[in-house]
């Protein structure tokens, strides 16, 4: 059996070019979700991962106008004579954009995989989580079962779809389309253990350079602190996960709760059946308290 393969997405070198999104759509023959330009809104027209967007470069806008107005820069049509030191601005860290190429996490404890009643979602020989589109009947249970909001049902097509980590390319020994297209190596692909080692080195290098908020989201956690058992596609982040629309802690909801919930439900079912039988066994006369209440004048108001 081949080793586990995954993605390491280093957000510190992402430039937000969206080449990965385009490459993904092109390789997997996925349609556009349509874009909407909102005045004053985000430049990120994609918005979120969906059934036809399997890679999504999230723009985390942390740009705040300095002194009430945006600096006049040549790029934004200004004359560029404002006394702005862009390097200083970047180092200060207050005014900046973060980019993060989001993707299916290919969790070790995958909620969608646990939820799928048809067996359409399976774990491949590469340790990835893949939907078999020829089996999926579109029941939609995987969607609320994913704590990361990745998988979605296509409204027109009716089936659930998400990143396959380019299962077809992996079978041919090729790296996934997004990783292949990434111009800055923000998206790295490879055997999982190797990637984690590389990511550890990268975080340490960033720490040494003074970016102490850098951390790995989804890999190299202490035992018991993993996200969904460890993410096959993990990230290097510099801000709290919520800034990127990620939950700070996550676990497959079924792994976590289906046993106690089922126990409570079955116990309640038995109690209900017994209660019904007991109600039939009781002598047929109304309780005196109720009789009393029904005699109270004006009850109920």
């Amino acid at each position: 059996m081949p080793e586990r393969l995954g993605f390491f997405t280093d957000t510190t070198v992402c430039i937000g070019c969206k080449a990965c999104e385009v490459a993904c759509k092109q390789w997997n023959d996925l349609p556009s979700d349509g874009g909407e330009l909102r005045p004053g809104g985000s430049y990120d027209h994609t918005g979120e991962l969906s059934a036809s967007t399997w890679r999504h470069v999230r723009f985390v806008e942390m740009l705040e106008p300095a002194g009430g107005h945006m600096p006049s820069l040549p790029a934004s049509g200004g004359n560029g004579h404002d006394d702005v030191d862009l390097v200083e601005m970047a180092i200060d860290g207050g005014d900046r954009w973060l980019f993060m190429s989001d993707v299916c996490k290919h969790c070790t404890h995958a909620g969608c995989l646990d939820a799928c009643p048809t067996g359409a979602i399976f774990r491949s020989e590469f340790g990835t989580v893949v939907v078999q589109a020829d089996v999926c009947n579109g029941c939609g249970y995987c969607i609320p079962s994913c704590p990361f909001g990745v998988i979605d049902r296509d409204q027109e097509d009716g089936r659930a779809a998400k990143c396959t980590l380019c299962y077809d390319r992996l079978e041919d020994g090729l790296e996934p389309a997004c990783a292949k297209s990434c111009p800055t190596d923000s998206i790295q692909f490879g055997p999982y253990e190797q990637l984690v080692e590389r990511a550890r080195g990268r975080v340490q290098a960033l720490h040494e350079r003074g970016i102490e908020t850098a951390y790995l989201y989804g890999a190299a956690d202490a035992p018991g602190e993993e996200l969904a058992g460890g993410l096959g596609a993990f990230f290097l982040l510099t801000e709290p996960p919520e800034r990127y629309g990620l939950p700070a802690q996550a676990e497959s909801p079924l792994e976590e709760g289906v046993v106690p919930a089922t126990a409570a439900a079955i116990a309640a079912g038995l109690v209900a059946a017994a209660g019904v039988a007991a109600a039939f066994a009781l002598p047929s006369r109304p309780a005196p308290a109720k009789q009393l209440l029904s005699r109270v004048r004006g009850w109920p108001r």
Binding site: V13, E156, L216, A273, F280
Partner: protein, 365 residues
Amino acid sequence: MSPKRLRLVPAVGTRGGPASWRRHRKGAPVAGHREGFDDGAWSFLYGEDTEYAVDARGEALEAAARRARTGPAPDVVQGPVMKPAVWTWEVPLYFWTGGIAAGAGFVALACDIAGDETSAATARRVSLAAVAPSPLLLIADLGRPARFLNMLRIFKPRSPMSMGAWCLTLFANLMAAAVGAELAGRKRAARALGAAAALAGGYLGSYTGVLLGSTAVPVWARSRLFLGPIFVATATATGAAATRLVLVATGVPEGHPTRLALGRVETGAITAELLLSQINERRLGGLADALEQGGAGKLFKSAKWAVRAGLAMRLLRRRAGPASHHAASGLYLGAGLAFRYAWVAAGRSSAQDDRAVAELARSRR
């Protein structure tokens, strides 16, 4: 090119993704390909000759992740964090019909134990009538209804959806067989099949709560241990109310022990439902907003008032006559339906509440 002729709609793309992967030509070589993902491993940033390739100690890394992922949530949560369920009106309606079927199954079993064979037969028919549209509703909600049989492709104890599909199949077949046996005059077989169906009904009436509770939706997930009991209470109340109304319609006289017992069952079950909901809402704290505001809140409130009105009318039955009690049964049925819709709607707004999702995630540790 004039602007009119400019086509902005992309010409590519097939929805739903690739259905199957097949090489155009078996064993065809791929240009530029190196064994063992070697071409993918190449990196100008991370090659061994760069300064990034350093040995890292684990503790600092774990501590950095811990710092970012524990403690209070940051002020800004840039969502969406998760996606709401895509289910439409068919699903809550199925929760209701399935619940009535399960509740009527309990009633049939109790009638048999108490020795009232006629009422038991009626209850089984009510149950069958309620369970009959259930699979159709579920199939209508599928993205690909033609593939509904895939639900029975595997048996997966971990997935409440799979177990529910199997349980519904089992229950519907047992109940149909019981009614069939009754028609064929085999009373003992009908009783045995009805009892077996009631046993399956214990799960049919409650698994829908497990189904919702085992998702990542905050308001459902936090109600995990209560949803099953709440749903089975609603099922029992609506099942008893439906059976009671049908018994009345088929001419079972007033004061008949079965009618009295069913009155007790519906009142007890709906009171238990109301109590459990109240306790659960208290427990939820801020997450209960999803149950109290918006469309779900309105449904919840009207369901609760319907229950209260029903309870009042039942207390008044001695004065206002049996019609008041029948109206109470009708109100319970309506309240049950509203509760089902409210829970599904609350899940939708709760999943879209990014802050609630983020804070629930933080509260795990």
